[in-house]
């Protein structure tokens, strides 16, 4: 009985691993390098530039609107932000800053990382 249970466990682990391997070979071909996916310290925005107006940000890992709600909620806490729009198809977040208001790229990156995603820079 124990051997059967062990075999079932091994089989399920192998199945999960095989699925992951297959998935990763296609999808992860575009993965960012290891440094940029370190979830504990990701502030790749070294630029302290203050941004104005409409800012479009490229974000990796946004696949689910339920999970990405934190982006809208956290940007809403900034008085300088008028509105936030998330586009899952384009993997982008667009924030509209209030007239005369600015927000640093560093702060923008922090919001994205705190929401659990990878900041890939401002779209030019």
């Amino acid at each position: 009985m124990e051997i059967k249970i062990m075999n079932k466990k091994i089989l399920s682990l192998i199945t999960a691993f095989a699925f992951f391997q297959t998935f990763s070979q296609t999808a992860f071909a575009k993965m960012p390098n290891k440094k940029s996916i370190n979830h504990k310290s990701q502030h790749s925005a070294k630029n302290q530039k203050n941004l104005r107006g409409k800012v479009t940000i490229k974000v990796n890992g946004m696949v689910c609107s339920f999970c990405a709600q934190g982006i809208k909620k956290n940007f809403a806490q900034y008085k300088s932000v008028k509105s936030t729009k998330v586009n899952l198809d384009k993997m982008q977040v667009t924030i509209n800053l209030k007239p005369g208001a600015t927000l640093s790229e560093k702060e923008i990156a922090k919001v994205i990382v705190d929401a659990g995603f990878s900041y890939k820079g401002v779209k030019k």
């Binding site: 999808a27 992860f28 946004m62 696949v63």
Partner: protein
């Protein structure tokens, strides 16, 4: 993670999650707070309906690793908890542990996890869940999203009963609210509800 609800055990920094799973054989309700996107604390109440048996835990939920790809995300979580379990004959100081892996893009989803409740006399409950699903359509961010999910679950209770079942679920989520409804091939109706505040 929970014994029933299969979603992210940690959310975005500063969020509070309320999750409940209801089925004829097991219920599990969890509150958690995410201090960081990789760290949350939770309280759990697990009960076996109609038997006056339950367990209560406090836990730490950790995101061990996340892969944020282009249009793809994969996660590896663990949960470590301590509390009291009265699922057996007596009330015991118990531990709760779990490991969860999930991967999804906008069209497909896969999850595998194992959770157990144990104490010095043995394991009270051990559960393995594997899920796979797809989205029949893709909606914009603020739309109503739906998924069709098939779940295989094996539950071992008190080393006496091993129960396996296969359950198709319909998952709906809108903004910060997620709802799942399923009925196993054995006839059990199951409901999951998650709210992020």
């Amino acid at each position: 993670m929970t014994l029933g609800v299969s979603a992210h055990p940690i959310s975005y920094k500063g969020s509070m999650g309320i999750m409940t799973y209801q089925s004829p054989s097991l219920t599990h309700t969890q509150l958690n707070y995410s201090f960081r996107h990789w760290l949350a604390a939770g309280v759990h109440h697990i009960a076996i309906p109609n038997q006056k048996k339950s367990a209560t835990f406090a836990s730490v939920n950790l995101l061990l690793k996340r892969w944020n790809g282009s249009g793809l995300q994969a996660n590896l979580y663990t949960i470590l908890g301590a509390g009291q379990s009265h699922l057996g004959e007596s009330r015991e100081t118990s531990g709760l542990t779990g490991l969860q892996f999930d991967i999804e893009d906008r069209d497909y989803y896969f999850l595998a996890k194992q959770t157990q409740i144990f104490h010095k006399k043995g394991i009270d409950l051990k559960q393995t869940i594997v899920r796979t699903g797809f989205s029949p359509y893709v909606d914009p961010f603020d739309g109503l999203h739906s998924w069709l999910i098939l779940e295989w679950k094996q539950t071992n209770l008190l080393n006496k009963v091993t129960r396996s079942d296969l359950t198709p679920f319909v998952r709906l989520f809108y903004r910060n609210l997620l709802f799942e409804l399923g009925q196993s091939f054995k006839g059990d109706t199951k409901v999951n509800l998650i709210v992020h505040l």
